[in-house]
């Protein structure tokens, strides 16, 4: 009886890597969230916010757009979710090559988490200060 693909996939993921099934599902769900957020980001940045769909956006428009809470939520949410999905993906790509010892795994996890936290801080605080 042939095993179905999801059972093979989950077993391979569980056996070949040290990463939890929880992060497997987190990739799926953050991916779905990103579908909405990235689409909204493209539409807002290139269509809604500039004076016309074919114009480039100006600094004033960026600042005024970010006054509204909804756009700030979109930007910060996109930043955090995209960073999680991307950095977790990089971790999975590296770990799936195999022979990642426990210590190396935690080093990688620490480095990628540090990058994620630093870029989140950078995105939220610094952009807030620069754009007011």
């Amino acid at each position: 009886m042939q095993r179905d693909i999801s059972e093979i996939a989950v077993r391979t993921a569980a056996r070949g890597t040290q990463m939890s099934v929880l992060s497997w599902f987190a990739q799926r769900w953050t991916g779905v969230i990103l579908l909405v957020f990235v689409g909204a980001h493209l539409v807002v940045s290139h269509w809604v916010a500039p004076s016309g769909p074919t114009e480039a956006i100006s600094a004033g428009e960026v600042a005024s757009r970010l006054q509204a809470g909804a756009y700030r939520f979109l930007d910060v949410g996109l930043l955090v979710v995209a960073l999680y999905h991307g950095l977790n993906g990089v971790l999975r790509v590296v770990v799936s090559a195999g022979h990642v010892s426990g210590r190396l795994y935690y080093v990688l996890l620490g480095v990628l988490s540090a990058i994620g936290i630093a870029l989140t801080y950078f995105g939220v605080v610094v952009f807030e200060a620069l754009l007011g």
């Binding site: 059972e7 996939a9 799926r28 991916g31 779905v32 960026v62 195999g98 620069l130």
Partner: protein, 131 residues
């Protein structure tokens, strides 16, 4: 040269390499899988670069509009279209993977062809829309 490892010790990249070298042709699902990995890494790199560039522009005071003027040239539009294609493939295959997780009985080869088709169609629409 090392001996071929046992099946359980082969990592996913080794298995992929085996398939391309053997006389069994690489199926469309393998292509889509490899492209999913590659596009994922590219988009992750773009994200970091995008944040870095934006931060540099904003902190150098007042040249935002200059840079946006530079970025409005048609050559940059081609880059934008290619970038959206890259994200599009990753997103469409990602939906397929999620669907495979939720509906295990779905055929993963037919859906791989569907991914290629949907990505091509949406990609052409996007290119026409942006250009």
């Amino acid at each position: 040269m090392k001996s071929i490892p046992t099946e359980s010790r082969k990592n996913t990249y080794y298995r992929f390499w085996e398939r391309t070298l053997s006389d069994r042709r690489m199926g469309v699902g393998s292509y889509v899988w490899s492209l999913h990995r590659v596009t994922g890494l590219v988009v992750a790199g773009y994200l970091v670069a995008h944040l870095f560039v934006l931060g540099t522009i904003l902190s150098s005071g007042g040249s935002f509009d200059n840079v946006m003027g530079v970025l409005a040239k048609p050559g940059v539009k081609v880059g934008e279209i290619i970038l959206i294609w890259v994200v599009l493939l990753h997103a469409v295959n990602g939906i397929r993977l999620f669907a495979l997780d939720l509906v295990p009985s779905m055929d993963h080869r037919i859906s791989a062809y569907a991914v290629a088709g949907v990505t091509a169609v949406l990609g052409i629409l996007v290119a026409i829309f942006i250009w």
